[in-house]
């Protein structure tokens, strides 16, 4: 059920239903690497740090696993934004996975911009296992940026009556 993103995440977010209706609540898919960023998110939780509930976390073994396809698939299937987070350069559990991804995704970001799609729909961060506070901040920033952009309409397609073009 792609394209239903606008309605999604209200129940967990805003205080009153009325406010939720007014304000767009983005849905963000976050790919976190197992060794740093996921642990960082865990720490944020254990430390009871507050951050917006708009993200849906998918744990991957290494940010190097994130191919541009996964980012595009998330956007195509209704996410308003995508966040990829891994270890700081030099700290990758697999030595260079995050460096590979950085090159790959930087080009994707640049292409997104070239197509006229807001580049901020796709964001990247380095968060280590000890940076619970940074993780909360990253999520806050990411959500605010996407909130400003509004719903992800460019990947949406409306079929005509019998689907023919």
């Amino acid at each position: 059920m792609s394209g239903s993103q606008a309605a999604g995440s209200t129940e967990q977010g805003a205080a009153s239903a009325e406010a939720a209706e007014k304000e767009f609540e983005p849905k963000i898919v976050a790919f976190l690497c197992n060794w740093c960023s996921y642990a960082g998110a865990d720490l944020a939780g254990v430390s009871r740090l507050q951050y917006p509930p708009n993200i849906r976390i998918i744990r991957v073994m290494c940010s190097g696993r994130i191919s541009p396809m996964l980012v595009l698939r998330a956007l195509k299937d209704g996410a308003d934004g995508v966040l990829v987070s891994g270890c700081h350069p030099g700290d990758c559990h697999y030595l260079k996975g995050n460096l590979y991804t950085r090159r790959n995704l930087q080009l994707l970001r640049s292409m997104l911009e070239y197509y006229g799609i807001e580049a901020d729909r796709f964001q990247m961060s380095w968060v280590s296992a000890s940076e619970g506070g940074k993780f909360a901040d990253v999520v806050k920033t990411a959500v605010e940026k996407v909130r400003k952009l509004g719903p992800n309409n460019k990947f949406k397609v409306i079929d005509s009556a019998d689907g023919g073009e």
Binding site: P68, M69, R73, L107, M111, G116
Partner: protein, 304 residues
């Protein structure tokens, strides 16, 4: 003049090197496979010879590979090819990526001053108006003298970069609405050599031992439906796969039956790769792939 040289070299190589065939163009500009010395007399190069033949080269070499009954590698007869400057760069990339080995190919280079678009009434292809790769970069023999080259021209890409995001989106949305995903761009691309393409739901490699599980859970990255969204993802996802590999030969744009300006994508990609990573596809023999050259000190600014 170059025709004679091409024919002569092709004949010589067919005779002396035991080539399977020489891939070239016939006088009408269509691809031609010369298997005998007699055939070789039909080889030609003129302004109508627009195909990038490197795609065929991979096909001809690969079709010979495999194992014999007693488990030995089959003998691969070398294949000859006639290449222009842009083609030769694509060929060099394949050599760098070990898709072909240098001993499997015999290369006749033809410096080129541009080829014409039959559909548009025999005017030069846009890629040929200003071209920075007129002379072959990898070859065994050259069929004519080298010609002067131009600076790479990115003005069309820059024009789009200078648009507002909304203008850019409108521009591309209109283009992608017209794509019919016939896959001609992908099938003709000399560096798209995978057996199975994840962007093409019609192209799945199934072997007799592929399990039901594998087939059932194979992701469909792009649906078969043809609409702006699927087309957008198709053309977006193609780019990272071509990063540091696409030599901007323009074959995709040439074959597109809808005349989509696909080189605006590949040229932009090339420009970015150059600007951000100071890397140029196939600029030297034995070059490592772009991603493998990732460095600690790569740009980090866009990362939080």
């Amino acid at each position: 003049m170059s025709d004679e040289k091409i024919r002569e070299e092709a004949k010589k190589a067919l005779r002396e090197r035991g080539l399977k065939c020489v891939i070239g163009w016939s006088a009408d500009g269509t691809p031609f496979f010369a298997e005998t010395e007699e055939d070789a007399d039909k080889l030609s190069f003129n302004e109508h010879c627009a195909n990038n033949l490197v795609t065929y080269l991979t096909q001809e070499v690969r079709s010979q590979r495999g194992k014999t009954r007693d488990g030995k590698d089959k003998i691969v007869k070398p294949v000859g090819i006639v290449v222009r400057g842009c083609d030769s760069k694509a060929l060099r990339l394949l050599l760098n990526e070990n898709i072909l080995s240098r001993s499997e190919v015999f290369i006749i280079g033809v410096p080129c001053t541009g080829v014409v678009d039959k559909r548009a009434g025999d005017v030069l292809y846009r890629k040929c108006v200003k071209c920075a790769m007129r002379n072959p970069v990898v070859y065994d023999v050259l069929a004519s003298d080298q010609v002067p080259e131009d600076e790479k021209d990115y003005s069309e890409v820059e024009a789009i970069e200078n648009m507002s995001p909304e203008e850019r989106w409108t521009f591309w949305e209109e283009i992608f609405a017209d794509c019919i995903r016939c896959h001609a761009c992908k099938r003709s691309c000399p560096v798209c050599y995978c057996d199975e393409c994840l962007l093409d739901p019609t192209d799945v490699a199934i072997r007799p031992d592929t399990t039901a599980d594998e087939k059932a859970h194979r992701p469909r990255w792009v649906e078969r439906s043809v609409n702006v969204r699927e087309n957008l993802v198709y053309h977006l996802a193609r780019m990272p796969h071509l990063a540091g590999r696409c030599v901007d030969c323009g074959e995709c744009e040439r074959v597109c039956p809808q005349r989509l300006p696909l080189r605006l994508l590949t040229a932009k990609l090339e420009k970015d790769v150059k600007k951000i990573f100071n890397y140029e596809a196939a600029c030297e023999d034995g070059q490592k792939p772009l991603i493998a050259m990732s460095k600690m000190e790569d740009e980090n600014e866009f990362i939080m």
